[in-house]
């Protein structure tokens, strides 16, 4: 009986994993590009071993820079635990850069922007989706692709205003009583994030 159970379990696991393993073929791009100089120099020094793969062979290919300004901007919004938006075509995104809210339209100048805690809004026609980001980076490429990488993000309607107020009060108090530099820095970060949350909810 134990053997039957183990066989069934093995069958289900292998079935699901095989299904998922077939889905991995989307991981490898149609034309895998590899770094030929690396492979050649590897083969010269270490002829017996196969060279290891490099990230370029696993990249999903990116569109080329178009000659005219496209109508939509492609957004990739990634978090460590999920890809929130991947290759979504939208009209405009507003990112919370450290220098202020920055609107990105198709044909934007290539930019590297560091982000501060704030709201990211994605405009698609008449829908606007807002997320609160903790911080991260945004890259806007010449081919009208925007990559936004954040450490943590939540949709705005999942934030509890009461907890925000409580957190803000607690961190302001901790900032007042902080003694060492580390404590002061931590308390300052807490105050920044909570006040940004506050203004995000009200504004």
């Amino acid at each position: 009986m134990f053997r039957q159970a183990s066989r069934l379990l093995a069958r289900t696991t292998t079935a699901t994993t095989w299904r998922r393993s077939r889905a991995f073929s989307t991981d490898l791009p149609a034309t895998p590009t590899e770094d030929s100089t690396f492979i050649e120099s590897w083969k010269k020094v270490i002829p017996n071993m196969d060279p290891p793969k490099t990230p370029s062979s696993f990249m999903t290919p990116r569109p080329a820079t178009p000659s005219s300004i496209p109508s939509k901007i492609t957004v990739n919004f990634v978090l460590p635990y999920a890809s929130e938006l991947s290759t979504k075509e939208v009209d405009m995104v507003i990112v919370p850069a450290t220098t202020g809210q920055m609107g990105v339209l198709p044909g934007h100048v290539p930019t590297i922007a560091e982000l501060k805690p704030g709201i990211l809004s994605v405009h698609e026609g008449n829908d606007v989706t807002k997320y609160f980001l903790s911080s991260g980076f945004a890259f806007i490429h010449a081919n009208s692709v925007a990559d936004i990488i954040a450490v943590e993000a939540v949709p705005l309607d999942c934030i509890d205003p009461a907890l925000v107020q409580k957190g803000l009060a607690e961190f302001t108090q901790r900032l007042g009583t902080a003694t060492s530099d580390l404590e002061k820095a931590e308390a300052q970060i807490g105050v920044d994030v909570h006040s940004a949350l506050n203004s995000a909810l009200t504004g």
């Binding site: 696991t13 991995f24 490099t54 990249m59 990739n76 590297i112 990488i149």
Partner: protein
């Protein structure tokens, strides 16, 4: 069934037989062997040894089957996490390119491996690739150091590259892997190790049976600027406007640190998946080997048993015919 009865009889007589068998008493052929000290005329063919081996092989088979199922369930849990983190490193490679053949003075090789064994050859592969990268990047002014994650790589690299090891980190998977933990780890490495280029060696999880050794390169901000000026893959980095921060250098510093923590997170997750997958296949082949061994032992056991019964019968019959005349 008669054989089973004989076998049971043999077992009951066994304690009577030890330590000294009685000459006249023709005991069951399944008693433990006394070839060395048995008196003349009494022949015992032992199946005890074979029976012990069969029991231990059966236990090993059960253990390896259980380990395979445990690895399968752990794999399922961590596979979703790894798949979700795959989008994390792509923007950085899209921006800064992938330059494994960059020539720098201070290389640091970060080898990601597992803490537990019985996972096939993935850790040896990682260590071999790390050593090969060390050889590849050795030059008159270059130095290469190791940062080791995981016990298995530590055991292998400490043997011959002890002086090149900067940092050893173990027990990574004691708590479930999270970005916070890996970013603290990355911060540790960035603070304590001087580098121009970090090369992270890990096994990328391609499928349950295939793991591809991969090396990801992260450059320090100074080298990024150097390569951007030199042209090539990072040539158009200068065309990017920098928003925020006072200087470009400051932004590049933050960018490098963020890139390292993101790439580390993905590589640690992929390596953990590969570890579980490799353990599954290793334990599966081990159970199959144990099954084959058990079949062979069963045949040997039956042959031995039948031979001893035949011998006993022959002796009885020849004795009886001798008596008759």
């Amino acid at each position: 069934m008669a054989m089973a009865a004989l076998r049971r009889e043999g077992r009951r007589f066994a304690p009577l037989i030890s330590p000294r068998p009685i000459t006249a008493f023709r005991s069951s052929p399944l008693a433990p062997t006394r070839e060395a000290e048995g008196p003349i005329g009494v022949r015992y063919i032992s199946t005890q040894v074979v029976r012990n081996r069969m029991k231990s092989v059966k236990n090993i088979q059960k253990i390896t089957k259980a380990m395979k199922m445990v690895a399968a369930s752990k794999l399922r849990a961590i596979q979703t996490k790894a798949e979700n983190s795959r989008g994390l490193w792509q923007p950085f490679t899209a921006l800064l390119g992938d330059t494994p053949s960059v020539d720098v003075k201070k290389n640091v090789i970060v080898t990601v491996s597992s803490d537990k064994g019985l996972c096939g050859g993935i850790n040896s592969t990682s260590v071999k690739i790390s050593k090969a990268l060390h050889k590849l990047n050795s030059g008159p002014e270059n130095e290469t150091k190791y940062v080791i994650l995981g016990e298995k790589a530590k055991a292998q690299l400490v043997r011959d590259s002890k002086k090149d090891i900067e940092l050893i980190i173990t027990e990574l998977q004691k708590n479930p892997l999270s970005y916070t933990q890996v970013s603290v780890l990355a911060d540790d490495i960035l603070k304590n190790v001087e580098f121009d280029a970090l090369r992270i060696v890990f096994n990328k999880f391609h499928s349950v049976v295939s793991f591809l050794p991969t090396v990801s390169t992260v450059l320090s901000p100074e080298i990024v600027e150097r390569e951007a000026e030199a042209g090539g893959k990072l040539g158009d980095l200068d065309s990017y406007e920098i928003e925020g921060g006072e200087t470009k250098g400051e932004i590049l510093q933050n960018l490098t640190e963020f890139q390292f923590s993101c790439v580390m997170f993905n590589s640690v997750l992929e390596n953990a998946c590969s570890e579980q997958g490799a353990r599954m296949s290793a334990m599966d082949s081990s159970s199959r080997n144990a099954g084959d061994m058990l079949d062979r032992l069963t045949l040997t056991y039956n042959r031995t048993r039948q031979a001893s019964i035949t011998t006993e019968l022959i002796e009885i019959i020849s004795g009886a015919s001798a008596l008759e005349g």
